[in-house]
Symmetry: C2
Subunit: 319 residues, 2 copies
């Protein structure tokens, strides 16, 4: 069995979590190198996790022929250019959400990955947690009946500081590209067909970025979803998926390993699958699975649908 060598570009908070996740997947994956624009920062990070190599530039990492997969964890706005560079260097790419700023960027990246026969994927927990695959399996049995309504709320309080990246338009701030990707990915996972944005109302922060919004999604099967986002107030992160015969609730849905089923007849069922602690390890394993199976990365098509919906929401706001 081939062991895959990974390199990380961008060494912020999520990169630390990601580096720790390799402990769950030691047989097939090795975090072999990290890169930062600052050599000392890369060295420090490498030392902390026992990573063999560190680079003071992204180009050096991409030139390293021993690296198979690049994990990109730089700020959102820089995702696209780093994806393109990594693919051109012949690397498979796992990129943090939101994978790109818009559909056009994603299409270009997807086309290049296909041309190069490389795997491109978004590090979206919801598309990789075992719980969601198990829920889909249960839904596919038909016992829940038809899907009717989804509630995908995400409220996260950020200090209202215009210079903070969350509110800074120059750093692609706003709730949508930060927490909105989770809420829309949750909805998209369960919707049996891609929806369109029927309506979306956004309230801007003083800097102009989206502070909060409500969006209505609906597809041709008349499945509906409400996406409620807020950057200035909290709300329970409980996803609700309502079918004719039962509804599912998923607490803390981005990294959930547990869901509750409430049937109309009053019975309930608890579904436990996977482990929240290993959330990022599932992303690592999914990458190597995709590469070995040489199959198209199906979760990327969900990612594409999500980015397309984010585009539609922003277009709605620009009206």
């Amino acid at each position: 069995m081939k062991k895959y060598n990974w390199g990380i570009i961008g060494l912020g908070e999520i990169a630390h979590q990601f580096a720790s996740a390799f402990a769950f997947s030691p047989e097939r994956n090795l975090l072999a190198a990290v890169a930062s624009r600052t050599a000392s920062k890369a060295k420090e990070f490498a030392d902390e996790y026992g990573i063999p190599t560190s680079y003071g530039s992204y180009d050096e990492l991409l030139a390293d022929q021993t690296i198979d997969i690049i994990y990109i964890a730089v700020p959102n706005k820089q995702h696209h250019s780093h994806i393109i560079q990594a693919l051109q260097a012949g690397k498979h790419v796992l990129c943090e959400k939101a994978i790109t700023m818009n559909s056009a960027e994603l299409m270009e990246a997807m086309a290049l990955a296909e041309k190069k026969s490389l795997i491109l994927a978004e590090a979206m927990t919801i598309f990789n947690m075992p719980l969601y695959k198990e829920l889909k399996r249960i839904i596919d049995t038909g016992k829940l009946g038809k899907l009717k309504m989804i509630q995908a709320p995400f409220g996260s309080y950020k200090e209202p500081d215009p210079n903070n990246r969350f509110f800074n338009p120059d750093l692609a701030g706003g709730a949508l590209l930060d927490i909105g990707t989770y809420a829309v990915s949750f909805a998209r996972w369960f919707l049996t067909e891609q929806p369109t944005v029927k309506a979306s109302v956004m309230e801007p922060f003083s800097t102009g970025v989206d502070e909060q919004s409500i969006t209505i999604l609906q597809n041709e099967k008349n499945e509906m979803a409400a996406v409620t986002l807020s950057f200035q107030s909290k709300a329970p992160k409980v996803g609700v998926v309502s079918f004719e015969n039962a509804y599912i609730t998923v607490n803390d849905y981005p990294r959930a390993d547990r869901a509750e089923l409430y049937f109309n007849d009053g019975t309930t069922e608890t579904i436990i699958s996977g482990s929240s602690e290993q959330a990022l390890a599932y992303e690592i394993e999914a990458m190597t699975d995709f590469i070995e199976k040489k199959q198209p990365n199906r979760s990327l098509f969900l990612t594409r649908d999500v980015i397309d919906l984010l585009d539609q929401m922003q277009q709605e706001w620009a009206k």
Copy 2:
């Protein structure tokens, strides 16, 4: 202290609950008479609750000079005509929700009530439960910060039978006038100004009535609310009210006596006020309070706002 004599028009399920609620308010209120189109049905109902008088017609009840207040529990479509008749007969009126089919009907009824110096009110639990008054008191201290976002979901599974009143357009079926009044009333209670319907998407049942919908409300203070209704799937009836510093959750919100406050700093607080079991007794007490204080019924202005929003939603759907 004057004791008020009540009469009930319409003797369905909710009238039974209402009759039972007089047990909580024996000093000031007496259920003195009931009326049905069928004399035997009225007699049976009266016997069951020890009510002194029963009438086989609504006119006889309205002609009874000993009756001060009429509680109207006939089907929605007939509310307006019965309200008008009762007011013209000089009775105060408490009418089941939705109080009227539209704003025009309500305006006419409100004008007549004012002209006759009679109290008109809607039997909306949310506007009368002590819990909601207590939550408003807490909000008014300012410690929760500004209101940002409200989630008002209501999912209720009804057997998909076109002849069932819930789906019958001739009986004013549809989710909006049944469960939607609760969800919109919940949102309106907390919104500090009347919102407008920014968007509403509805999926019809085969009979044409609204089976499910999602509505976005927003007011000039940029407070937002998502109202999600479904008649073909269940969902937890958890209202969520998100402020800058904390959010409130209210389980089973129509008759709730308990709410949880979750502050951003991690602390929580449980608010308990009133009793769910006495939900309809609060409506009875509120009526006599309004009459004795000879003050305008302020909750009727909230009712008017809600009916106005239901109008806007239906107009949106008709586009």
